[in-house]
Symmetry: C2
Subunit: 341 residues, 2 copies
């Protein structure tokens, strides 16, 4: 009987070891926004385009890591690909504000030093993630907003574009549709002062953000997020993406996190830092901590998703929407890209 | 021997109970900024003025709580007093940006619902804390920045002032001094690209913020923070005050927190949420959690202070600077106000 017990223990130990050995080590994880992304609404061409650019984004960052560059370099290079592609609500593909403008937000954080940089409401920076990095590395500040942030980016030598650069037909049409739906809504909610002050009520207008977390050869994590915000947004609304602790956070001791979704709920729950604290103070895994933090958002009525990567190369990509553009790459260069549930 | 042991245990239990019974229950705690505040630099008149306005601020909030109003009402009323007084770097007494403007930030959070509101870079709102509350209660957003936030405040019916309202001789002279010191600094650091992009290097220009946490009769906590930011700030810099999770956070399950100090370090450490998480996930008291979070700021090279109040009426007011304008009031109306260490 005793021999049988010992045998069972040994067998389970071997199995456990085997699982652990098989566990993949990831070096990058990305998202391109979460929302009502359903296969039935997607053309094969559009789906192929998303998969292509997610793959290209992962490759761009992976090249940096493979060649010994920092995780910050990888995050920046990866997000550049997504910012320069019109499919995502960031950079070139940014959605329009109520006034027909594009106001972009981004943040980046270095897990080794806990240095961070963020910009909100920039209108002339081609790559907001680089503006965030410049704030982190070339100023003693963490956050800059509005015209001041644009000026800083220019002074820091970043590529400045005419605001027309961000114009795309799809996003412009999206704004017209949102305005139309909003005016119907305003008539319906005529009595409510609140409704007059609100942005669009259409749920999916809130979504679309890109993000990346990377782990370099030196074992340092970095995380970044970039967004065009919310279609038809008014009053200089800022979501969670540029808020350190909410949409973006990174700490070598725990994990790097980038969120996407209904930003207001992510701010109220300080989601990214919550994941880090659940790992640090409760000893939870990145997967369990990420799920718990997203569940808090869900219970409150918010939705979206997030990506997280810990220092050991474990990832989490939970979302409570229909889909999330997402992908990851392992240390040996194996790419995984997914869109739907 | 056994009887002696039992007697000792009983004695300590009685003593512990006694201490617990004597422990005061606070219903409000406030701060008016931390920094190099030394008695030797203070005139008796100035000291008396600070003590008077801190007392008046506590009384204004206490009146709300005593009459059964919410903790949000108390926080707003208290911060109004400090915003309307030129002694504090918030509202009327806001410091000047490099361009000779006043850009104000504020945030408020409701511990019961985890609803939150924040504004950054407003230039025409008499009481930014009320603009933050309007964002929380009259929009579906959490954060608004720049001209959009000013417009929202106006649309929400708040008192709008000409930017000249914020002009005070002391702050204007402070800006001139900071510019003078900066240009000396720029000559010294001529070779460094970084220094050209920085704001003022003078340490104390970073400080000055007002904040309040209140606990109402229904047992609900609320926290708020309001600031004029940093003297001579450039590029639309935003500090921790309006960042939910960093300078301001509130949760009935843990505590309400408002921070003041070198904002960048408070953002990088997500200080306010860290305190809440240390309480929630590690079971620490508000005092121990507050000290631990401030120690993280200190170890990184940052300084300042914070106030916190938990649902049981326990407060913490740690700071690692020479002084912090601060005060608290107990459930039975006893006021304590302090300035120095």
């Amino acid at each position: 009987m005793r021999t049988l017990k010992l045998f069972t223990v040994l067998l389970f130990s071997v199995l456990a070891l085997n699982v652990s050995a098989q566990q993949k080590k990831y070096v990058m994880v990305i998202h391109g926004g979460a929302g009502t992304i359903l296969k039935k609404n997607m053309t094969p061409e559009k789906e192929a385009a998303y998969i292509a650019v997610l793959t290209q984004a992962l490759q761009a960052g992976y090249e940096k890591i493979k060649s010994g560059k920092t995780s910050l370099d990888a995050v920046e290079a990866t997000i550049h690909v997504m910012e320069n592609d019109p499919h995502f609500n960031a950079g070139k593909g940014a959605v329009f504000t109520h006034d027909g403008k594009n106001e972009l937000d981004a943040a980046i954080m270095d897990g080794k030093t806990l240095m961070a940089g963020a910009v909100a409401g920039v209108t002339t920076v081609k790559n907001p993630i680089s503006a965030a990095r410049a704030v982190m590395e070339k100023s003693e500040h963490v956050m800059m907003v509005g015209a001041g942030a644009d000026l800083f980016a220019k002074d820091a030598g970043l590529e400045i574009v005419d605001p027309k650069y961000y114009w795309t037909k799809e996003r412009w049409d999206g704004l017209q549709q949102a305005i139309k739906e909003d005016s119907t809504k305003a008539v319906l909610d005529h009595g409510s002062k609140k409704s007059e002050l609100l942005g669009s009520k259409n749920h999916d207008y809130k979504f679309g953000t890109v993000g990346c977390v990377a782990l370099d050869k030196a074992g340092n994590l970095a995380a970044g997020t970039s967004t065009g915000g919310m279609t038809n947004k008014k009053y200089g609304r800022v979501g969670d993406a540029p808020i350190i602790g909410s949409g973006t956070y990174c700490n070598n001791e725990t994990a790097g996190v980038s969120c996407t979704g209904w930003g207001e709920f992510y701010i109220r729950n300080v989601v990214a830092k919550t994941i880090s604290d659940l790992m640090e103070y409760k000893g939870l895994s990145v997967a369990v901590a990420s799920k718990m933090a997203l569940d808090k958002v869900g219970k409150m009525g918010g939705d979206g998703g997030l990506i997280a990567l810990d220092k050991k190369g474990n990832i989490a990509m939970p979302f409570n929407t229909e889909g999330m553009y997402r992908g990851a790459i392992t240390a040996d260069g194996k790419i995984e890209v997914n869109i739907y549930k």
